[in-house]
Symmetry: C2
Subunit: 114 residues, 2 copies
């Protein structure tokens, strides 16, 4: 086993926040702080026009990724941590920082040994 | 809905390939080609000593991530594509390029609308 990955989807978000780099990065940084993660490097892309934002954080503990879809008010977030961690309060964070009205979460163990 | 994500875990891989940047990048590039994806930017980190490799590819279509664990022969791969795609032949590719003996795959729809 090499840890767990959480797939977190938020719906009913505020489109303006999903287009706002500071809001999206602010959420990522809050997750890093809350879970005690360590960022090695990041790559962030703001898609043009009505498009959303993608941010990928390369962590010592694996990865943190986010994609926003302002046209539908949806955000999709992954947090993969190869060492044990308590999950972040996903619904609370996505609600506070992006205005998400509904959040669905699933947890997936990764890398089962033979 | 905003597409599907595949979580692909390979076991029994050749440790030397999991430490080899060219092998890991070669797998990522084959997935990009096979699935007709478009790379916006990449970030790759080779962990020191006996550590593995992490690569994150930021795609027009979402993301492609990989983590290797040479100490256990395990690789964990994510492919998230926000537009419809046929999956890559995961077991075949991980077997050919990393020597994986067993591959487990799960597919997860992302971003269900309210």
């Amino acid at each position: 086993m090499h840890g767990s990955e959480w797939l977190v989807d938020g719906q009913g978000c505020a489109p303006a926040r999903l287009r706002d780099r500071a809001s999206v990065v602010g959420l990522m940084d809050r997750i890093v702080t809350t879970m005690g993660l360590h960022v090695v490097s990041t790559v962030i892309h703001v898609f043009p026009g009505p498009g959303g934002i993608t941010a990928l954080y390369l962590l010592s503990e694996s990865h943190l990724t986010i994609h926003t879809f302002p046209e539908t008010g949806i955000v999709t977030l992954n947090t993969y941590c190869c060492t044990p961690r308590d999950p972040a309060p996903w619904a609370e964070l996505l609600g506070e920082l992006l205005g998400a009205q509904k959040v669905t979460v699933s947890e997936h163990p990764r890398g089962r040994a033979l």
